[in-house]
Subunit: 494 residues, 2 copies
């Protein structure tokens, strides 16, 4: 494919050969990933030990290139040994399934290969991003505001922290944290770990993330928040941010936003809502009450790559602010990119709102999907996910051996599978120890047989339990039944 | 496409319809973006004013979805009004061109839609990322070490800052910057703005980024670095990091790494090399001398999405460290993701090395391209880009009106176009003012006519000049000639 000539008359890439390769690769992708990869008769996972897999893939990078036929085989191999995350029996993560319009949007973004920093290189996407952000803000209940697509919810959460401290102490941008009093952040122990990671990364330190107690359902307790804020103040720190969660990662709990907003108002703190996982309930007239009060937040992080099946990465930070805080806080005014003597309105050069320079186009896939199914279609998906979760819960109650952590609020269903040998043995001193070992064994078996995937974890003093998150528009009741049967099949001898 | 039934027996997505749409979209992408979009007889840019473009695109998101035919027209419209960054006459940014193997890898990554945090969801990519990082580290001259793909060079640069401060003061992770003395960072005024943005974001403050003088060519002066470090110490601060640049954004200058490494050794500072733009010279036996001494760095940032045409986003942070600093510094040990009782070696769960949670698979496209053309093919592309830059420079010298900022070291060719009316008028008091206005006008004209794209900027006391960056494997001598002719055509009446 590479021209051999060293002179300058010919380009190094031959389009006809290249496009032929792309066509062949496309066919393999459709067949292996989209057809077989979503077929319940095929495996979710073709497990290999790392050493064996490395050998099968022949990963080594060499001096010389390879013939096209080899390369197509590599495409096939990568597909074969990768996890089929679109498979109706992939329940392992907070993403799953496939939406073909979104996928077409992703292919188009990749082919256009542009950078969302100026209107001159990304005219379509500057306008499109603004419109998608507007649409999402509207669901939050804001008629104006600001926002940005970020490379993930963790980054969106960090942005909120940076904006909140900058609003309070704009001098932090030039002088750093040394010029500020010690700042504290409040969140629940069930919030996502990115709050702590962000605090470490941004110089606050993890110890300055203060954990507020949660109720039985994993929801932050506003009274405890108020007390912890007072306590922190009395210790000489300056509380500045509360990071609530709408849809916690493990239990799917929704912090009570109205009550927390009251506490934030009282203490004049920035209210950030991490709705990376749960934000999509805002599409549903039936379920949006879970986020009642969200319009009172200062910022919201929301990942359409999770429940909306927009494809990784797709995450937004939404802001109520109308004072251009995002740009003031993040700008560096680089003259090679953001010249002020351009021939168009340079407010369209949104790049300086970001701490990134290159920024991938993550809005097109969501926009195209939204255009395709409408808000009504997205609502239907959200509602259906709730129905599926409900169905699974009901079935679990009818079967022996499935014990719910609690009634789910959202589409996370957390449960223990109690194998026959442990049933009725709750009083035994080694009961919890033995129960803790059940999920890892079932997990190993399902992975090695490739039949399905689901995650497990401990939480506080609760030993390993499964968490099935149901969100894929590709699943149906049969997959739910299969899931339960399969857990029984894999765990009945334990 | 959405099923209308509200019950649970059918999934909401119909694969046959979806795949048909994807096929049609793929055809449009090939035709509009890859064929027309790389054809010199077609425009680079179909300029529209924002209001008109918004109207043409009908961006609004509505309650109801749309028929497939409309959606395909939208795919066509997005392609039509987007900038053709792969076009041989797109010289506007530090990315350009298209590599079909990389693009196939990107389509495959998108279809597989997985997350690079654990071996269980990304077995192929955990191993592949490690191999690609190994290959890149080898070019730096390291037989061991660590690294990570990050969502851009700005993030890679921030990671280096975080690692450097953590190595010196591990307590920063828990206690924050308040427990540390004031820290200072050293870089040149021609370094990328992400150093300053990162310093602000991470709590250091932009004032604690100390700018070291550069020589005529834009290269950091080691003696001045030494002095500035001493000065900062004498003022009570703790210098901890030098961020050099290999290939500065505007001039393409390479800081003298060996001399700077000596200064870093003397003061025991972390040496970070921002080779986001220039790193690819390491593939070239002929040009790698530009980065002589890079093996003495502690960390290197390198963006294969720039010169290697791997597609946005593709950026790595490479580390010499073998003490697991990356994980120690960034980990939060979330038990829902990084359980320690898994059935495989949990060291393969690389996610906790990152401050992200979801992390897009950015290695496959580079790996597949590298497999396709080999290190030799990548070397050839780098060498050819230098030859093209050389050719342009030679031609400029033969033509009237082209004035180089200086002899380029790299593939950035910075020049003023002096229109006939200004030639020989260097002594006029308004000469520089008038010259400063030339580039913006030529730029506006080329955009509106859509014939090509190139960037301009001022730098220090040098008024607006053009910067053509030559890297695309799709260009040939004809495109260089066209570029020069076109600048003349667009600017001759000014
Ligand atoms: C509640 C919550 N917030 C934030 C995140 C982080 O989002 P991302 O993975 O896009 O960084 C997650 C991811 O699981 C999450 O569940
Ligand atoms: C020298 C240099 N460093 C870092 C960056 C930032 O990389 P990214 O755009 O991937 O954030 C750039 C981008 O232009 C650059 O030129």
């Amino acid at each position: 494919m590479e021209a051999t000539t060293g002179d300058l008359t010919d380009p190094l890439i031959n389009h006809a050969d290249g496009q032929l390769f792309l066509h062949e690769a496309f066919k393999i992708i459709v067949e292996e990933v989209l057809c077989k990869g979503t077929d319940v008769k095929e495996k979710v996972c073709e497990w290999r030990e790392p050493e064996e897999l490395a050998r099968l893939l022949d990963l080594e990078l060499r001096e010389k290139g390879e013939p096209q036929e080899n390369l197509l085989q590599r495409v096939r191999d990568v597909a074969k040994y990768s996890i089929k995350t679109s498979h109706p029996r992939f329940f392992n993560q907070q993403f799953a399934g496939v939406d073909y319009h979104s996928l077409a949007g992703r292919f188009l973004s990749e082919a256009l290969n542009t950078n969302l920093f100026t209107y001159e290189v990304a005219p379509v996407f500057v306008l499109m991003e603004a419109e998608v952000l507007r649409g999402l803000r509207e669901l939050v209940g804001w008629t104006e505001g600001d926002g940005l697509f970020c490379p993930g919810g963790s980054t969106s959460n960090m942005y909120a922290m940076n904006l909140a401290r900058y609003r309070l102490y704009p001098e932090v941008k030039s002088r750093g944290l040394w010029s500020l009093p010690q700042l504290t952040i409040f969140t629940s122990p069930e919030s996502h770990y990115s709050v702590k990671k962000g605090a470490a990364f941004m110089g606050f330190g993890m110890d300055n993330v203060i954990l507020v107690k949660v109720d039985d359902g994993g929801r932050m307790i506003p009274e405890d928040l108020d007390e912890k804020i007072e306590l922190s103040k009395s210790q000489g720190a300056v509380p500045f941010l509360v990071s609530c969660t709408s849809g916690t990662t493990v239990q799917g709990a929704f912090d009570p936003l109205h009550h927390i907003a009251d506490v934030c108002d009282k203490h004049k703190l920035w209210l950030h809502v991490d709705a990376a996982w749960g934000g999509s309930v805002l599409f549903s007239k039936k379920h949006r009450h879970l986020m009642k009060g969200v319009h009172r937040a200062n910022s919201v992080a929301w990942n359409p790559h999770k429940m909306l099946v927009a494809g990784l990465q797709c995450s937004v930070l939404l802001l109520k602010d109308t004072t251009d805080l995002l740009k003031k806080c993040h700008s560096a005014n680089a003259t090679y990119l953001f010249q002020q003597d351009k021939f168009y309105d340079v407010n369209l050069d949104v790049g300086d709102k970001s701490v990134q320079c290159s920024r991938k186009v993550d809005c097109l896939k969501l926009w195209l999907m939204w255009k395709a199914v409408g808000s009504a279609g997205l609502e239907q998906r959200v509602d259906k996910a709730f129905l599926h979760a409900r169905y699974v819960v009901d079935q679990m109650k009818k079967r022996e051996g499935f014990q719910l952590l609690r009634e789910p609020e959202f589409v996370n269903v957390c449960f223990w599978f109690i194998p026959p040998s442990l049933r009725g043995k709750e009083k035994n001193p080694d009961y919890l120890n033995r129960l803790a070992k059940v999920a890892p064994v079932i997990k190993e078996r399902m992975m090695k047989q490739g039949t399905m995937m689901v995650g497990y974890q401990p939480l506080g003093d609760r030993v390993n339990f499964f968490r099935i998150t149901i969100l894929s528009p590709l699943v149906s009741q049969k997959d739910m039944d299969f899931f339960l049967d399969e857990i029984e099949r894999l765990g009945n001898d334990l």
